[in-house]
Symmetry: D2
């Protein structure tokens, strides 16, 4: 027999009701996206076993409206991620729910003209009340008006926002409690940004808080610079992926030696063949030095609402006796990262 | 609050290791393809609860090489499907494994020139030995040469093929034992077809067995005609989907009153927007009468290697105390379906 | 500069209204699917310039209902393809239009329940009259009843069907006139198949015509065996692609030396990553020997209704002075291919 | 005949070499994405014919590296768009080429480890020199260091950057000359952002220029507020699409009456079914009021490197005698939009 033929297929078996941990493991002997999904969990475990790795999680797509909020909170709470980069929308919808509002089961084929009349907004098959969104934006605007007039990174601003919340199921608040920094490089491009525009208009002429994007870059740069090794998990693409991917090129620009991410996990429905960064492969990223040459990577092409609970569920099984991994503590002095302590 | 906002989102929770049954159920409160997948299980349960329904399963794509053989066998063995329509490839690869050969874990980025030299064939990330394929084809050709020279439907021929096997994990053999007919309308378009071409060439000039496609149609037509209600499950699209979908139009052509499938479940990575039948919706099918106007349908856009084990695993949980559903027995007299008995 | 950087990008220019020929050529300096599309034309030209190549065209998807009938006819008429393999649906819809019926501009968001009541069938955004389909099936059934009772290949049967037509814009009739054989391996899986089932039921008990799939295989095998070199163009995947791809493995099974297709062109919206044959790459095909190791291949991921007119338009430009390529004449004696003459 | 069947299909004809204008028009009688593409041009024409409409263009994906730079410049030069919103990457790559550097024809299957060694970066099938990127970033950093230390919108900053260029084929410079404002809400998430981080680090402690995202929002808000009607063209999704889509909700938050975009054109390879904003439909947008209830919309699912030249080429035909449409002049006084003049 050829040397290529050395590990033969065991077929997936679901004849007894097994847990997610065991289920996802059994997919490793299947093919196509099932095997890729299983491989994502393998890479995740390798990364968690690396005592010096700092793990970035990029969130794009309507994950919070889509029902993934608790899963993300559990990843943070169990120290399975260290730094979050998100679209504004996911953070906004988290804040919205933390105020006691809800997303509702809807219908992807609804009559959107009728919904408009009823002041109901649709996200594919999910509904949300327009009036509650307006109240949420008013609340953010009001919080901003009570903040000190100075230049902030999005991280600082979001930490402040989280401090106003009282909801254990909130991503923003859990991250604040666990010391997980959250960056939102395109904060303006969300309802949080719209709320800050309201605040901007009301403050017109007066000194006010300013979110400085480049300060975000500086803070992220320091995390990458000081971390011994890094890993990245991407749910969807968009700005969060590109932003975490550009960290090694940024080291280069700033004349700091450093290697690309050692671990790369991606759940996406996008594709490399249309050339966008959202769909690009770990391999392409190697040409840029964004991913380490000897890195470990896995990409599963699957809707994150299916893929994320499976991957997270499999990994969370290892945490039943409490977080298995040391906390990474980021010691900030304004925009300076003084140290990353591993507790 | 608007009447549209009546059922609010519970977030998916994977913090404790739950079984597939409970997991897939919890996806019903998520959005996007997670909810669609959960809906597939709901429709499947409705269909199983219908005492008079006959369930068709359409198999396309490399499901057997992809590790789904045991899942499909368990569906048959537990009487969760009644009629199978498949591409030739899936049946061929089942036969191949039943002879003791294997599919192997491979690499989707392998050097195909090197594989060719090593006589190893690649199916995305799966390998198979070219030499073993040739032996398998030789075996099928030899079986054909021992069969009576007459006109067969693909169902009859495949039943005969199954009779030569001795492997409890075989789809062909399990279906034969359980009385589940298998149709393969494009049998020529597979390695089974290539084997029969070898037989054809060897028999040149002599009388021989002939697979009559139209006889297949006649047999399928009778099942649809005699079933009180029908349901269809599609893994991928292709000929199996179109073939099961055309049953009601065929009733029309033959002047028999009848309704479209009442139940429609589809796991696919194709899409309606490019116009092909593989990706078309249950709704489009209603315009043709292929699906009953008051039918129940669900489509999840996900790779079947992920979606099928989840759906099957959830449904199989209900069968832990033995098959929960009566067997449908098809009483054939040559190409005539004399009766469908529900045991 | 690195040796990798040797041909720099010229940007696509559409500031003056240029013809398709020049337009598609200009895409060769773009990236992503634009370049791939341009590459399809390059490979097509190489193939047309090969005096000994026989060109197969595989048709899947709703191309005729989708408005591609005239483009396909022009390819045949200008001798730009030599052998056609099609789904039954495309041939049926060609026959349907040849009887004077039409496809109509529709709406993909129509109410399918209302359409059903109005006896209008929907193909995404295209409508067709149910009553006219029934008349067409009746006509096919009637033609079959006048044919000699014997075993046919689908090629022979379709040639006979074409002979009943009188429409210069028909694929079936043009192919017949130009001596281009058409194979339909899954003929039963179409409205032609349903018509033949009507005929089958009416003839019950009496001798009748039988379409022998394996005879199709034998005829296709001989074309591959006798052609010095071969090329394949795939519009979509499905049975037509698999059927043309299995030709070299079939040579192997039959103990005939031969090489895979030298030219491979594919327009598809499917993808390799889900493991099905419809989406598989030319490279994967090399591991099987389906494609020659030193072959030329191009795949563009684009809806065929956009990609085909661009590719065909570009190639047809070269034919303004009449067909530039010699006809391939297939000399059949029943199921024996006696010779392929190059006129 | 049913009233549904009132406009029958003419088949697409490419037998004579026709211009893009005529070609795209002929696709209106086809189906699927061909018809959708043709519909994009129809909506574009309606929008251009609206004397009071302001047209936003959102650019996402690697359009400039992909060869679309000249097409975008021609749209600006011919006054076919009024406001640009872009990812940082497209503007960076435009700036890069304006310095005389190039993108190179590459290979999507290249060995990325080798490319890394050769200091060549890959974007799917396109190469770029790492060293030239570093020089470009240095240049941007240097320009920033010469700018006045104050708070800027991205529009102001990009106008300043454009002022340093001397290349008629530059998007940045052409937009500056034509008075077309460019916004880049996630400027930090690009090599421009990395260059500004270099500048930030060098200026540490000193006063410096700050890009204020929320000022961008305020400026965009005013354009939407003052425009009588608006239209949006999306190439890909991402931040540019979301940012232009959130304009009407922002009016609501700021208590200004206003309607959603009247015109909506989208070329995308994303899809609504995964729930993200990038793929969402015009209809879903109506539920939010982002699109006017009586608006005109068209979406074609096609790679923008194919779709954009076709749409732009068709529309540019109308401009052969010079721009057919009046210029929109935005009169800024710092962050205040004093007036939109229609020349």
């Amino acid at each position: 027999m050829s040397e290529y033929l050395n590990k033969f297929r065991q077929h997936v078996d679901v004849s007894s009701d097994r847990g997610l941990h065991s289920f996802v493991k059994s997919l490793s002997c299947a093919s196509f996206q099932a095997r890729n999904l299983s491989r994502c969990v393998e890479v995740y475990r390798q990364m968690l076993g690396d005592d010096e790795a700092v793990i970035f999680l990029g969130l794009a797509g309507a994950l919070v409206p889509g029902g993934m909020r608790k899963v993300i909170v559990d990843l943070i709470r169990n120290r399975l991620v260290d730094v979050l980069v998100s679209t504004g929308a996911n953070l906004y919808h988290d804040f919205f729910e933390a105020l006691g509002y809800h997303h509702y089961i809807g219908d992807s084929k609804a009559d959107d003209g009728e919904l408009r009349k009823a002041k109901v907004d649709r996200i594919y098959d999910t509904y949300v009340s327009d009036a509650e969104l307006v109240l949420t934006e008013e609340r953010i605007s009001e919080i901003a008006s009570r903040m000190e007039s100075r230049v902030y990174s999005s991280r600082e601003f979001l930490e402040h926002l989280a401090g106003e919340l009282d909801d254990d199921e909130s991503i923003l608040l859990t991250a604040r409690k666990e010391g997980v920094p959250i960056f939102c490089p395109a904060l303006c491009d969300s309802a949080i940004g719209m709320a800050l525009t309201q605040y901007y208009v009301r403050r017109q002429g007066e000194s006010r808080l300013i979110i400085d994007q480049i300060r975000d870059n500086f803070e992220m740069f320091q995390i990458k610079r000081d971390a011994v090794r890094t890993g990245a998990i991407y749910l969807g693409g968009g700005v969060p992926k590109n932003y975490i991917q550009q960290l090694t090129p940024m080291l280069d620009v700033l004349g700091v030696k450093g290697e690309g991410h050692k671990y790369f996990i991606q759940l996406t429905t996008d594709d490399p063949k249309f050339g966008g960064l959202s769909g690009c492969t770990a391999s392409e990223s190697k040409s840029w030095g964004k991913i380490a040459r000897e890195g470990f990577s896995a990409t599963a092409y699957v809707d994150a609402t299916i893929g994320l609970p499976l991957v997270a569920g499999a990994v969370l099984c290892d945490c039943s006796g409490g977080p298995a991994r040391a906390k990474r503590i980021f010691c900030w002095e304004r925009d300076n990262l003084e140290e990353i302590k591993i507790e």
